[in-house]
Symmetry: C2
Subunit: 459 residues, 2 copies
Amino acid sequence: MPANARTLTLNLFLNHAGHHEAAWRHPSTQPDALFTPDYYVRLARRAEAAKLDAVFFADGPVLHGGVEHNAVGGLEPLLTLATIAAHTERIGLIATASTTYYEPYNLARLFATLDHLSGGRAGWNVVTTSSAAAGANFGLDAHPDPEVRYARAEEFLEATTRLWDSWEADAVLVDRAAGRYADPSRIHPAAFAGEHLSVAGPFNAARTPQGRPVLVQAGASNTGREFAARWAEAIFTAHQRIEDAQAFYADIKSRALDLGRDPEQVKILPGISPFLGSTEAEARALEEELNELSVPAYGLQQLSGQAGVDLSGLDLDAPVPLEIFAGAGDVTDNARSRFQVVAGIVQRERPTLRRLLHRLAGARGHRVVAGTPEQVADTIEDWFVAGAADGFNVMPPALPAGLDAFVDHVVPILQARGLFRTEYVGTTLRDHLGLDVPENRYTAARAADGAGRPALAQA
Amino acid sequence: MPANARTLTLNLFLNHAGHHEAAWRHPSTQPDALFTPDYYVRLARRAEAAKLDAVFFADGPVLHGGVEHNAVGGLEPLLTLATIAAHTERIGLIATASTTYYEPYNLARLFATLDHLSGGRAGWNVVTTSSAAAGANFGLDAHPDPEVRYARAEEFLEATTRLWDSWEADAVLVDRAAGRYADPSRIHPAAFAGEHLSVAGPFNAARTPQGRPVLVQAGASNTGREFAARWAEAIFTAHQRIEDAQAFYADIKSRALDLGRDPEQVKILPGISPFLGSTEAEARALEEELNELSVPAYGLQQLSGQAGVDLSGLDLDAPVPLEIFAGAGDVTDNARSRFQVVAGIVQRERPTLRRLLHRLAGARGHRVVAGTPEQVADTIEDWFVAGAADGFNVMPPALPAGLDAFVDHVVPILQARGLFRTEYVGTTLRDHLGLDVPENRYTAARAADGAGRPALAQA
Ligand SMILES: Cc1cc2nc3c(=O)[nH]c(=O)nc-3n(C[C@H](O)[C@H](O)[C@H](O)COP(=O)(O)O)c2cc1C
Ligand SMILES: Cc1cc2nc3c(=O)[nH]c(=O)nc-3n(C[C@H](O)[C@H](O)[C@H](O)COP(=O)(O)O)c2cc1C
């Protein structure tokens, strides 16, 4: 790879039997193995062998609707990633967790521990939880409004980053002779008191290999973008068209710059769900095969939820009425950005309801590409080169076959073109993504303080 | 082992560099490894090779006082146990977690996932959190009173056990042909609304191998015992003398019986911290060596906290004034049961302050035994036979040497005497402890319902 080349990021987004909603019905998948560790370990090792940056799990503290016809529900991501960490050496480990439904002290400990256990491979996909049903699992009458959720998220990040800085890198002395395990002057209270939460601190674990987990984010509303531009080091996003992705990319990078950040320290990673075949026709046939396996009642339930309208009475073979997707601003706020993606498809393509369900069955609004390995590699390169993406969240439609096809056939092409690594260069997720290790605020403050005084005065 | 023999339980209680407060200063320990997975994995594998029932981690969401002079703070137990699960096959995995500072939906998921990932080896040591400083890490002005904490704990157990029952064992169909992944009539909402918390449910994971984690408890107050008698399947406890342990044992078993439970389904497990030597003198010398390494300022800080009085001005070599430990009922409630153990030592032994600090340095009030492997095995057998214990939480004073000595020298004696297994019989923690798999309440209700009706009426 030329020294001046930008490095493409490729994460494996793991989702049950695969990202297509009918994956579990396909004979190649393993829906009986979804609660067993070996299933995930095998997939992660496959991704690691291909030198992918990270594996990623979505999450929500709720049973999503539709369990009758789809493999929803599953294992908790942090513990699953700890298991994967024990069976891998290099690949990054990104878990989704909610700032709305967790306490910062507990979550800070979980991620710090994952970072310690994995030797610096932890990442946190920060979400405010998209499913409104979650509130009732936590004693709330209603899921809080997006503005309230993001306000709490801001405080949550402030609190957790203080906890992760609580122990400076040199806090642990292990001075057996003097009987001093740690230097208390290097361990700081979090001392955070906000409107939504407060944490006294100090933290109860030593500074982690990465200082803190890589902060990932996946919100797309205006508030979500502002939050991302302030905190995120990588952003997951869903786009159908390169021009939308370019606009999003430019917007986030310029917001980050406005906030005084280096835009290169914010990686934009759209989702891509590749159907692969040795010919384009073969790939399309595979897509069609999975689409035919989807249960319309399932897709209708998902879409009705997004639209805020019961669509179950509509004719599957008539065009989707435009009105239903006209008021993209009126629907429940938490799903609005993905809803806009759907509205865009309806307006541009005027599909039948069945066709729309099939379009969404693949990856719920993420870009689906069916083609040869060359064609998929071309799409990835095009988006990467055109300033639409710094890399991708790869969403195999069916597992393990969709992952095998991607790593066996697409990754080698990207490597041959000099776009993707052939060996890991570093050991941490920050190394893979080219992200800086964040400075410890207390160490930095003391350094600034020390620089301002004559050296002798300190002695 | 004769078929009618009770089975002795032996857990390995892992604590930093060892249970003695000065363990980290001893040249045999590895205080630099406390944030690395290999350290814990190696210890757990050693315990598994000796066929121990489980490894156990204590926990609290707070940095305990005294980090200057002791290795306090550490990794989060659930993730650490997931790592251990990945490197072991049979040994049980018990994590402490707080009902005061967690949300039931989150914690139910973590334990269910650990049970799935480990093939049925998870246990939960249910605590209401003993450290009052924790409240300030969760936005509370004060740590709630014990009665409030236990009232919340009752609701927490009701909510989490409902979540664990939410999916009946036959809920997952994976019927590819019919497009039915699960049977929604076999997935139930938690529908729990209490004074302190509520959870709508349903849960988002399938029923686990053990149905639910083994429920362990460690409270000793009257309220704590009542809670334990209702919920606990194993109870950790601290006793200095066999007669106190017998009284506790009889009390818990009769409380369980009064609540309609089988007393054999409640295992009583006192802590024991064994110093081992080839002669008793050698064992005592090792204990003395560790005592001499303790930093008096550390022990004084711990004891002052327990007594609610600043003891730092007292003469280390004068007898402890009886008054200080007279009012065992007046101190902060959450530490009262352990405080009573300390008061008992002071009243019976009239030690100097230095001697008392040494008595507590070993295992903070748990029984410390220094002797030959035969002597330690005798103590274990005596307590087991005399109805003082169903087994023990083994607390090596220094790691790994204290564990190695125990498994190499004491376990074989217990095996030779027919008191301890030489091979695992089952695969789950419930199997090891001889505990029943709890019935699913919904399945049971339907069975009862069905039994009441003529079979034809159901068809
Ligand atoms: C790749 C990707 C993964 C996501 N994963 C989750 C998730 O696991 N849990 C969740 O609650 N939301 C998830 N989201 C949704 C976002 O967190 C966010 O709620 C949604 O994009 C709406 O953003 P907005 O509220 O800023 O409009 C994900 C979004 C994307 C693009
Ligand atoms: C072996 C053992 C381990 C314990 N571990 C913890 C722990 O990890 N975290 C905690 O908060 N309390 C722990 N405790 C304390 C108990 O949960 C409880 O708070 C204490 O025994 C006082 O009980 P009471 O409140 O019923 O009087 C432990 C107690 C014992 C005996």
